[in-house]
Every structure is written in structure tokens, then in C-alpha cells.
């Protein structure tokens, strides 16, 4: 398609200035030709199709059209209209006001300014949150890179360009019998290189590349232009970020390198788990992966290379279940006026819940009620409070088999217990809340909503209310 003429009209849209011209598509600002005001600023994306262009460009356009129509929420642009493929192919969508992550990184680089660890963590968590929202809608992006991420003016991450994406409920138009790599060389995951499409953990890998890039200023695997170069990531472990940047904390390196594991099942099982770690750095369990400052030696790499060269790289099987099957389970543990029977009942419920969910993450949360003066004086730091409660937490977790579950502890101070629990659950994309049913408030519950009831009513997820076995007359 030739360049559109400014001020011309297509299907009721008036073409404005061209704001981007890429290798695959041009983007024009557009308005309604009849002068109607739009609810938001709009852009028209027009794919570049020259004679001799492969079908892939058209297929990408088709996929993006399909996905924009069904995606919802703040992390993808709103869809307006599409032109007929056989006539004038175009997509009209919401124009996201803000800056791409690519330009944000470039600005800092040009100013010779390293991004602070806080900024990297903040951006990473926002990115993981946006990705999780996409995955919850059964979509894998599969072409995440800084150029496809917008940081909107209200500090929300919006993902762009769904041309290579995969929808679990639609036929995959990019699939073919002779599988080959589809994606951007610097950010593409190892399993994508051998043609696997549809693993949400491929997107987690791409975020790992971006975190690495933001932290060290370098790409972990460069920008390979050959197949051999691309295949390097099947066996090569990148230089540890701490070797390139001394103020990179161990926990951040642990997080980044976990995202970059060649095997998908060694990475975070879902973007929400990644977001959790980025929002709770002091809960990250640091292994040798996070501590090392020199990369693995020649022999180690040689052995991995032999395996990969011998085509022994086996992609992890695609997750068969929905991503919420690897949930974040939150237990609200009372910290005062609590009977052994309640603690026991909560532990039993937790054991049962974790037992059916391998890999689930356990977050143990307690809220210190500052409203009734039962808690501590406000000068105490969170770390000190945490330490004080850690012993009772640890004791409570005895008897839980946490071998396949990462557990973390959180102490929150608040005068509104229900609200604090709800905020925690929302902020950390918790999938299941387990809490006591607080039977001793039952007599008053017609007049005052008890904490468990208000949590259950407003929670963004399933809530299990645990009761201890009490004699009937005590409940009545």
C-alpha cells in the first residue's frame, strides 16, 4: 500500500499526519471525518504490503485484528475499526499517550544515566502486571520488546503490536508444519526458536531480557542475525548482571536469571509470580544464581552446547492448565486473640489447598490493627515487626510441606484489617485467600460486617473461610 495522503478520507476516517513509519506498518493519526468527537485519540495502523511480500505480513495483520477485538482492560489499546483485508487493510485503535519503553531506555542511555534499581523494579513489576492481564485473557504476546511497550501518562504499561501473538481459543494462523522461529531476535525465547508457540513463559523470558537490558545496558544474548547466533541462548548463560553492574542486588539478579532460564519450566510459572517477587524483594530466595559474579566457565558451556547442538534441547511441555492453576495462595494469619484450634484449622485448610496445586506460591499475611491500639507503636519499622512475627509464622508453617512451594511472610500495619487484606490480594494478584471465619463476631454480624465477610464480599478471587469445630450453642 502506498503512503496515505494527509486530509484524505477512508471509510469515514480523516487521515492526519503520519506519526510512525516502520518496516511492517505505518501509523497515522486519524479523526472522524464527519467531525464527531472521539472518546479518545485514535491512530490508524496500515500494514506495508508490497508485491512479493510474503503472506506473513498479512497474517500478522489478521491476528492483530482478531486480538484487538477481544482484548480488554487498561493494558492494550482499545479497538475502533478495521478495513477489509481485500480492499484497504487498516486498523483503527486508541492512541496511547506516553512514551515507549524503548525511547525511555534510550533517553537514559544518551544522558549516560543508569536506571536506578528502584525504577527498574517498578517498571518490571508494571510490565509483569500488564503481561499477566494478557495471559489471563488466554493470549501470549510472543513479541515483547521495549518498542512494543508504552508507558502511558498515568504510569500504566500498555502492550502493543499483537501481530505475532497467540490466542489459545483460536486457530493459530502462524502455525505451520515446518516450524520456524517467529519473533524479534534479541528478546525471543529459546523454545520460540525451535517453533513452539503458545507458552506464556516465553513472554516471561522476554521480560527477563528487558530487565537485563535496563540493569546492565546490554542485551544478554546480543542481537543475533544468524540461526547459529539465535540458537546460542539454548545453551549459553549470559554474564551475570552483577558482573556488569556492581550495585545490582543479588535478589534482582536472581529474578532476572530465573526469567532467562533456557527451559521454560525453570522460569516463573506465571507473570504474577514475577510481579510478586519484584514487589517483595526481601522475600526472594537467593540461590547461587543470584550470587554469582563470574559467568560459567568454558567446560560448563561446552557441555550445554554439545547437548543443544545434538538437538537435545527439549522444550518444556506447554502448560496444560490455565495459568491460574499455579496460583498465589494467601493465608491471613491472626496475630492476637487466636486459639490453637483456629491456627490448626487454618493450617489444615492450607495443606489441602496447596496439595492440589503444585508450584503454588504461599503468601502468609498478618495485619496488625493499629486502630484498636493492640499493635505496636508506629515507630517500629516493618522489618522489626516482621522479625517479631517471623518466629510465630515459622512455627505455624511447621507441618506444611513447602518443598514445591515458595513461602513468604508479610506484616502489614493498618487500622482497617479487611481493607489491608483486600489491597494486598489485589496488588499481588492473589488467586485464593484462606482465612478464619472469626466465629466470635457472629452474634453481631447482622449489625456490623465482620472482617471475613467484607473480605469475602469484595475479594477479587476465591475466599476460603475456615471454621474450627465449635459446639453448636457457641456459634448460635
Amino acid at each position: 500500500m502506498t503512503r496515505l495522503v494527509q486530509d484524505s478520507e477512508i471509510d469515514g476516517f480523516k487521515i492526519g499526519p503520519r506519526i510512525h513509519g516502520g518496516a511492517m506498518a505505518s501509523i497515522y493519526s486519524v479523526t472522524y471525518a464527519d467531525g464527531r468527537t472521539a472518546l479518545f485519540d485514535m491512530v490508524m495502523k496500515v500494514p506495508l504490503m508490497r508485491s512479493g511480500d510474503g503472506g506473513e505480513n498479512i497474517v500478522s495483520f489478521e491476528i492483530e485484528h482478531q486480538l484487538l477485538q477481544v482484548l480488554h482492560g487498561p493494558h492494550s489499546p482499545r479497538f475502533v475499526a478495521a478495513g477489509d483485508l481485500s480492499r484497504v487493510p487498516y486498523l483503527v485503535m486508541e492512541q496511547i499517550q506516553g512514551e515507549t519503553l524503548e525511547s525511555f531506555i534510550r533517553t537514559h542511555r544518551n544522558q549516560k544515566q543508569a536506571l536506578s534499581i528502584e525504577t527498574i523494579t517498578h517498571l518490571g513489576a508494571k510490565l509483569a502486571e500488564a503481561l499477566h492481564s494478557l495471559h489471563q485473557q488466554n493470549v501470549c504476546h510472543l513479541d515483547l520488546k521495549p518498542a512494543n511497550v508504552m508507558i502511558s501518562k498515568d504510569d500504566c504499561m500498555v502492550l502493543l503490536d499483537f501481530g505475532l501473538s497467540y490466542h489459545a481459543h483460536y486457530p493459530d494462523l502462524l502455525a505451520e508444519e515446518l516450524r520456524k522461529a517467529v519473533g524479534s531476535p534479541a528478546w525471543i525465547a529459546p523454545e520460540q526458536i525451535i517453533g513452539v508457540r503458545g507458552d506464556p513463559r516465553s513472554d516471561v523470558f522476554a521480560i527477563g531480557v528487558m530487565l537485563y537490558e535496563m540493569t546492565t545496558g546490554e542485551l544478554p544474548f546480543g542481537s543475533p542475525t544468524t540461526t547459529g547466533g539465535l540458537r546460542q541462548r539454548l545453551w549459553m548463560s549470559p554474564a551475570p548482571p552483577r558482573a556488569l553492574r556492581s550495585d545490582c542486588p543479588e535478589w534482582l539478579q536472581e529474578v532476572i536469571l530465573r526469567c532467562l532460564e533456557p527451559q521454560a519450566d525453570q522460569r516463573y510459572p506465571s507473570a504474577s509470580h514475577l510481579m510478586f517477587d519484584l514487589r517483595n524483594p526481601n522475600q526472594v530466595i537467593i540461590t547461587e544464581r543470584g550470587r554469582k559474579i563470574i559467568r560459567k566457565g568454558f567446560w560448563w558451556h561446552f557441555k550445554r552446547w554439545l547437548k543443544a547442538a545434538g538437538m537435545q534441547y527439549q522444550a518444556s511441555p506447554l502448560p496444560s492448565e490455565q495459568i491460574s492453576e499455579v496460583p498465589i495462595v494467601m493465608v491471613a494469619l491472626p496475630n492476637n486473640d487466636v486459639s490453637d484450634a483456629t491456627l490448626y484449622a487454618l493450617r489444615q485448610a492450607t495443606i489441602r489447598s496447596l496439595g492440589t496445586r503444585p508450584g503454588a506460591k504461599l503468601a502468609i499475611v498478618t495485619v496488625i490493627n493499629t486502630g484498636i491500639g493492640a499493635g505496636s507503636d508506629s515507630n517500629q519499622s516493618e522489618t522489626l515487626l516482621q522479625r517479631q512475627h517471623l518466629a510465630s509464622f515459622k512455627k505455624w508453617t511447621e507441618g506444611l510441606n513447602l518443598q514445591n512451594h515458595q513461602a513468604s511472610f508479610h506484616v502489614i500495619e493498618s487500622s482497617n484489617v479487611a481493607q489491608a487484606l483486600l489491597r494486598y490480594a489485589e496488588g499481588n494478584k492473589v488467586n485464593l485467600i484462606i482465612m478464619g471465619a472469626a466465629t466470635h463476631g457472629l452474634a453481631l454480624q447482622n449489625f456490623i460486617t465482620t472482617v471475613p465477610i467484607s473480605v469475602a464480599m469484595r475479594a477479587p478471587c476465591t475466599v476460603i473461610l475456615v471454621k474450627e469445630n465449635l459446639p453448636f450453642e457457641q456459634i448460635a
Partner: protein, 250 residues
Amino acid sequence: MKLALLSDIHANLPALEACIAHANAQGADQFALLGDMVDYGPYPAETVERCRQLEQEGAIILRGNHDTCPTQESDADATWGNMATSWTFKQLNQDQQAWLAQLPLTAIIDNVFLVHATADAPEKWHYIHDERLASRSLDAASKNPEIRYVFGGHVHQQSLYYRGSGNRLMLFQPKNGIAIPVGTHRHWLATVGSVGQPRDGDTRANYALLDSETSQLTFHRVSYDHLIVAQTMRDLGLPEALITRLESGR
């Protein structure tokens, strides 16, 4: 046009009624019955009458391999299949049998080719079990340049075949109730499953709905009281194999 595609009803009137009601609720304005109205199930005569009524209301109705009386008087004791068939045609009067026998094997409506089994040889009753056989049927139908969709039944499974970026057809397993975009610049072939005798472990009745305005195809599964139908079959003394099939959906 919202085209409801129902196939392999197999004399299961409650399942047929459930699918019709569901399709009407979805706004279906054209019905197509893709063959095998009778055999196996307990309501052959009632099902034929209901289908004739649908025909008068404008439905397209095709003939399947189970809709014609076997020419030779089959040996009723030989297999449960023969037993059911000979019972079925005893329940149908001459008029009903003649109506079934005169039904066409294929039909075209706009850009849609309809057939019970395959478009390449409708009278041979080939089963579409893989991409190769699907490809033969689709290629034969799309010799007519208008055709974009080929819909059939016969295999009692819901499947969608499409072309990816390669040239070969690919199989996609649809999910219940999800509207799948099926653009008209491509060719598609679908088997719509069975209304009256599902065989994939889910006892609910199957059908599919094409919305030609939005170019979306939705595969549906509809609950009905299949246990009552099974009990009716038991009361009639129909073969146990057919009854357990309905009870288990296999």
C-alpha cells in the same frame, strides 16, 4: 445470516429440540440439517416429522448414510447396528421413508458448501479423520470459487480445519461457546459434531453456528435430559451398546 448447523441427530428428538431452542436463542435465521436424522435413537418417526416441519419453515436438509433403508432385508440378529436399523425403518411409514430417500446429498447456500460426509465423494461416506481427508473435501468444494466454508457431520466430533502459514491444512480443536473468527479470505472446513449421539466423552448435544455477517463460527454444546432418552431406549429394548453410548457420551 446466522446459519445453525445440526448433524447426526439419530432419532434423538429431545436433543434436537434442545439444539433448536439454543440456536433460536442465539438468533439463528437459517437451519441446515446435515444428515443422519434417524437410526440408533428411540424417536425415528417423530424426528422425521419435526425435520419435515423445519423443511417447510425453510431449513436445508441433507441425506446421510443412515437415512436410507438397507435394500436387502437385514438379518436382525446379526449385529446391534442392524438390529437398530431394522427397528428404525419399521417405525417409519412409506411416506416418511420416501421423504428421507429423496433428500439431496449436498447443498450450497451463499459461500457455504454443505454435505454429510465429504465434498469430493458425498456418496462414499468417507470419514474425515485427518488433515489429508479434510483437504480432499475442501479442495473439491472450493473448485467453485464462491465457496469459503465446507460444513459436514458424520464423524460425531467437533473439529475445525484451516490453513496456517504453510500450505497444508491444520486441525484445530474448538472450545465450547467461543466465537472463532473465520475470515472469508481463507477456506475453512468444519465437522459440527453430533446432535443425538456425541462420541467424545461429553454427553451434551453438539451443533455449530456460523454468523456470516461477522465471519465467526461458534461450536456449541447443549445439555438435555439424555438419561431419559437412554431409559426410553431401554424400555423399547434397543441394543445396550447404543444406550451406554448415550449415557457416557462415548
